[in-house]
Symmetry: C2
Subunit: 415 residues, 2 copies
C-alpha cells in the first residue's frame, strides 16, 4: 500500500506574497499562517461544504476548527442557506429592523431559562464589552473580575496583546486563576463594593493549554459570591455556546448567570452576536448606548433561527458529543498503542489534545502539520470543534490520518 502524496500549497504561497504587499502581515490576527504550522498548512481557503473545506490549491480537509467555531451544523448547511437566501431576497440591513429581530429574540428567550430579553450585535467583542457596560450601569460600579488568560475578545480591556493599549484602559480589570474560588474571593474582597461584574467562559478553554472543566463547587461558589456582593455574573459563551446545551453552557451544572453572551455558532457562520439577560438587568440594558449600523441585519437572524431549530430538531448536541467521543476514543487508542503520552481535555464536542512534556509545543505542531498535509484540519494551540456534519465515516477517515501523524511524532521524538 502506498500513501497518497502529501499536500502542497503553491497557490496559497503565491497569494500570500501578494497579500504581504497590501495587508499588514499579509494576514493579521488569528488567521496569520504563523499561528498554524508554516509549510504544512494552507494559507487561503476557497470552499466549504458539510464538514469538508478546500484550499486554493485544491486540497480537501475534514474541518475540526469550524471557522474558529461558527460552523456548528456544517458549511453551507441546506436549511440555513435556504433561510438566509429567502431573507436576502427581501432585505438584510435597512433603516429599521425586520420581523426577524422579534422572531429571533422570542426564540432565544424561549429556549434560555435565564433570559428575559435578548440584544443583538455583530461579534463576540461587541457583546463582552456591551455586557460590562450594562453591568456597570446596573451596579454603578467600575471594576471587573476575569480569569487570567481567558479570551474575551480584542477590545482594549481584554486584548491578549497589550501593544497600543494605554495601561489605564486595563486598570479596572482584576484577574484570578480559573477554578480557584478562594483566589476569586480574595480579589472580590480587595475590591469590595467596587466590582460590577465577574465575566467567565463556561469552562477554561485558553490557548496553549489543556482545557479544564469547572471544578466541583466552583460555579456554585461564584454564583453565591456574586449574589452576596451584588455583582453581575456574565457567562461568555461566545466560543462554546450551542455545542453543549441549547439553554446555555452552564445549564448542565445547574448554575445560572445574569447575562449570557453568544456569537459564533448561533448563526452557523453568519455574523451575529447576542446578549441574553435577566429581567433585573433590562433597565440597565436600556440605559446604555449599544448600537451600530449592521446590528439589525435580517439575514444572520434568519440564519440563526434556522440554525437553532435544526440543532433542536436533529439532536445536534448529542450528535456532536457522540462523534467527539468517537474521535477522542480513537485518538486515545492510537496514542496508547504507540506509547505516546497525550492529554485529551474539554467536552467531546469542543476537544483539545496536547502531548505530555511537549517543550516548545514541537510535538503538537508536528502532529497538526502532518494531519493538515493529509487532509485533517486541526489547530496546534486553539481548541478544536465538532459540527453535526461530522458523521462516523468522517471521524474514521480523520482517525486514519491522525494515526499517520502520531507515527510521524513517534519517528521524530520517540515514544
Amino acid at each position: 500500500m502506498t500513501s497518497a502524496p502529501l499536500y502542497t500549497f503553491n497557490r496559497s504561497e503565491e497569494l500570500m506574497s501578494r497579500a504581504r504587499q497590501v495587508i499588514p502581515s499579509g494576514i493579521y490576527g488569528a488567521k496569520n499562517p504563523a499561528n498554524f504550522v508554516p509549510g504544512s498548512y494552507p494559507v487561503f481557503l476557497t470552499t466549504g461544504e458539510g464538514c469538508r473545506i478546500r484550499d486554493v490549491d485544491g486540497n480537501e480537509y475534514i474541518d475540526f476548527l469550524c471557522s474558529f467555531g461558527p460552523i456548528v451544523l456544517g458549511h453551507r448547511h441546506p436549511k440555513v442557506e435556504e433561510a438566509a437566501l429567502a431573507q436576502a431576497s427581501r432585505c438584510d440591513s435597512l433603516n429599521l429592523p425586520s420581523e426577524k429581530w422579534v422572531e429571533l429574540a422570542e426564540l432565544l428567550v424561549s429556549i434560555t431559562p435565564v433570559a428575559d430579553w435578548a440584544a443583538f450585535a455583530k461579534s463576540g467583542s461587541d457583546v463582552t464589552s456591551g455586557a460590562l457596560r450594562m453591568a456597570r450601569a446596573h451596579t454603578g460600579r467600575e471594576k471587573v473580575i476575569a480569569a487570567s488568560g481567558s479570551y474575551h475578545g480584542w477590545h482594549d480591556w481584554c486584548s491578549p496583546i497589550p501593544t497600543g493599549i494605554p495601561a489605564a484602559e486595563r486598570a479596572l480589570v482584576a484577574t484570578f486563576p480559573y477554578n480557584d474560588l478562594e483566589a476569586l474571593k480574595r480579589v472580590a474582597a480587595e475590591n469590595k463594593g467596587q466590582v460590577a461584574a465577574v465575566i467567565l467562559t463556561p469552562f477554561r478553554h485558553d490557548f496553549f493549554r489543556d482545557e479544564e472543566l469547572p471544578a466541583p463547587g466552583f460555579l456554585e461558589g461564584v454564583r453565591a459570591l456574586c449574589d452576596q456582593e451584588g455583582i453581575v455574573l456574565v457567562l461568555d459563551d461566545v466560543r462554546a455556546g450551542f455545542r453543549l446545551d441549547l439553554g446555555g453552557s452552564w445549564e448542565p451544572y445547574g448554575v445560572r448567570p445574569d447575562l449570557i453572551l453568544y456569537s459564533k455558532a448561533v448563526a452557523n457562520g453568519y455574523p451575529l452576536a447576542v446578549a441574553l439577560g435577566r429581567e433585573e438587568l433590562r433597565r440597565a440594558a436600556e440605559s446604555v448606548y449599544f448600537s451600530a449600523t449592521y446590528w439589525s441585519a435580517a439575514v444572520p437572524m434568519a440564519a440563526a433561527v434556522a440554525t437553532i431549530n435544526t440543532l433542536r430538531e436533529e439532536g445536534g448536541i448529542e450528535q456532536m458529543r457522540a462523534m467527539g467521543q468517537r474521535f477522542r476514543d480513537g485518538i486515545e487508542q492510537q496514542a496508547s498503542s504507540l506509547g505516546l503520552a497525550i492529554t485529551q481535555s474539554g467536552p467531546p464536542a469542543i476537544p483539545f489534545m496536547t502531548f505530555v512534556g511537549d517543550t516548545g509545543f514541537r510535538r503538537i505542531h508536528l502532529f497538526c502539520g502532518e494531519c493538515a498535509r493529509r487532509g485533517v484540519f486541526l489547530h496546534p494551540f486553539h481548541n478544536w470543534f465538532l459540527m453535526t456534519a461530522h458523521k462516523e465515516r468522517d471521524i474514521d477517515q480523520a482517525l486514519a490520518v491522525t494515526e499517520e501523524a502520531f507515527k510521524a511524532v513517534k519517528a521524530q521524538f520517540g515514544g
Copy 2:
C-alpha cells in the same frame, strides 16, 4: 384632486409590542422609534429594492437614509447581489481567508492615493478603535484629539452616551470644536508630546445640527500640525466614504491623512469595515492585536469589489451629486415659495436640512413625519444620503411629497 390616504402602521405597532417583551426598549440604539417621529414612521421594514423600501404594513418609501449609509448603489443592486451570491455558493467565513481578502485589498490600495495597505474588520467602531491602537503603537503616546460632538462609534472612548462607561476610559480623549484650528492647536500644545492621533470626520456631520464643510485652511492646518508634532492624522470616513470621492473624502481638498477608515457604503450593505494606511504605519498595524472571527468573511468582500467597480464604471459619485443637487434645488424653491426659512447644508450627496429658529426641533419633526406618512423616508436629526438608484423621477416624486410636508409645517407654525 384628492390626496392619497396617509400611511398607517398597525402591523409595525403590533410587532413593537412583541419586541418590548423580549428586547431592551423593543428596539435599542439608533433605530429606536423614539429617534424618528412616533406615530408618523414605520417601526419595522420588510423589503428593499433600488431606492424603494417597504414596511411591514405594505407602505412604500423612497429611501433617503440608505440603511444609515451603507446602501450607496441601491437596495439589492443586481451586480452586488450577483457577486455576493456567487461567493456565497463557495464560502463566506472559513478558518483562513479567501482570495477575496487579497483582491479587495489590492483594489482599495489601487484607488486610494494615501494607502499602501488595507486591514479589514466588521464595523465602523472596529476601525476607529483599531486606528487609535495603531496610532498609539506607532507613536508610543496615549492621548487622542477628536472634535467635540463628532460620532466615531459606540466604544467606550467615544460613545455619545456615557452611561456605564468609567470616566478613566474617556480621560485620554481631548476635544476641540470642528473647524477651529486655533483651538486644536491649543489642545495639542496643552498635551505636547502626548498626542498619538487626531481623528476627524471629513466634514462636520454631527447629529441635530447643520453640516459644516471644512473651513478654508482648516484641513491644511491640521495636516501641518500633525506633521510638526508627529501625530497620526486619522480620517474617519465611515459615514461619508464612497459618496464624495473614491480616493477618500479629503481628496477634493488635496489633504491626505495617515489612515482612512471606511465601513457602511464600502459593500452596499454587507458588513465590512476597512482601515487604509500609509507605509509608515504598517509596522504599527502589524504590532497590534486586531482580529475577530468574521473579519475575513468573503461574501462582504466580494460585495465590496462589485460595489466599488460599479461606482467607478457608472459614474456613481457624479450621479449622487447631481440628484442630491436636484433634490436640494427643489426643496429650496418650495421653502422659498412658502416663505419658510430653512438651511440646507453639507455635500449634495450627503445632505441635511433644518428650519431656522426651530426650537425643540418641532418643525423638522413635523416635516419628516409628514414625508414619512406620504412615502419619503428622511431622518429628523441625522444627515440624509443619496444613492445611485435615485433617478430624476424618484427625486421629483419625493419633491411632490416634501411640498405637502412644507405646507403642513406652514399650516401649523406659520411662515
